[in-house]
Symmetry: C2
Subunit: 231 residues, 2 copies
Amino acid sequence: MRDRPLVPLKAAVRKTTLAVDVVVLSPRHDALAVLLVRAPAGARERWTLPWDGPLPDEALEDAAARIASSTLGAAPAFFEQVGAFADTRRHPGDADVSIGIAALIPTGVETSLDDAEWFPLNELPAVAPRHRLVVDRAAAMVRQRVDQSPLAFRLLPQNFTLSELQSVYELLLGRRLHKASFRRALQASYLVEPTDEWRSEGRGRPAQLFRYSPKKRRGARRGVRFDLFSD
Amino acid sequence: MRDRPLVPLKAAVRKTTLAVDVVVLSPRHDALAVLLVRAPAGARERWTLPWDGPLPDEALEDAAARIASSTLGAAPAFFEQVGAFADTRRHPGDADVSIGIAALIPTGVETSLDDAEWFPLNELPAVAPRHRLVVDRAAAMVRQRVDQSPLAFRLLPQNFTLSELQSVYELLLGRRLHKASFRRALQASYLVEPTDEWRSEGRGRPAQLFRYSPKKRRGARRGVRFDLFSD
DNA sequence: TGACTTTGGTGACGAATTGTTACTAATTCG
DNA sequence: CGAATTAGTAACAATTCGTCACCAAAGTCA
């Protein structure tokens, strides 16, 4: 404790190369898919995440919006930071540090993609190791936060059926849910409100459309939960 | 959709100044406290978070360990990223981007602090606006993740009493918990195991010491919880 | 010594929540 | 029309949770 190295003295910033790597996620064909862009000729991998350096004085979420828009044609409505990555894994632009940002796009948003394509998360092509890490962490983050944050609602259009909502949860959680329990829990949470629209989707009874509309939370403070640990 | 600006073309990294800002947290005097270091003469605020630029090829957590060690004399055992911050709030070293990293120190760890001091979170002195944001986000992160991650156990020594554990939870959650419920939930989680030590703390019955020792989780997959939304 | 206080620890009961089964409703298909 | 398909719910059983009541083992103090 006494003979510690006296290093601190002067903190100092150094110049670093920084990239914002955007993980655009959307349910496509019954799987969670990520948007990749075709890499320029000569790159080691054929596909990369949309990325760029932030412009001077540009906030990170603004950079993510700009980057996502440029490949998607429209700005996603929802972003969330995944983390900063500075290990030695290779980045396609050799950035020292990557900021990973997840963007969520609802189902059904048709996109005119020139040089980009949706890939289901379990059928990813080869991407740079840094990008692979960012994608994996983004997916893990979304799956882990799905019941603390209205992420699932960001993967659906404004109006949706309860079956669609349940499907998104099943997609994210990777397991089937029980219909009655799901609806009872949703009801009790006051997170959605019914619209007066109904949708007939081929066979079967038409479903009522709902919208996300969180009400004042009733302050029912519950006890501590030890069963939610993920590590 | 058709006439979108054709900006993407060439992604490129630019040089940026980067800082790692470390939020060292520990329960001190029945409150969650953060470690601040005295700022060099001439700085606008008298106190700052421990911070520095990362060394070339240094991983962010390694940088955080180095920075925390240099003011604390020992490396914290636990780190977690808080996020990246690039808005225009002023950083003491005028870094363009800050990576906020939380470090947790157990109670009872005595530290020989020359130029540093513990401040309870609700009695913070003036710090640079960027640092204020990082501290607030770190505290919010710890409070929010306390029941998904064994954060509370990182704020206690290896061996602890159940009352101490409950106190840490009460500190983090900001409310009293019911003893019997707390212990029943803990029991059911198989997260701790008793040691054969007991501690007599002045008056009252001695308490058994426990250690954190998470067992294989029984795969009791519960339903979706809509009551944990925080926004 | 022996009440009283203080802190640790647990059993048990009613209330609330959750998992499940089974049913009804509204539509398409043949 | 009846079978198939999807939506939506009532109701019951099993489990979990909040609480109260109590017992245990120490220190305090007359």
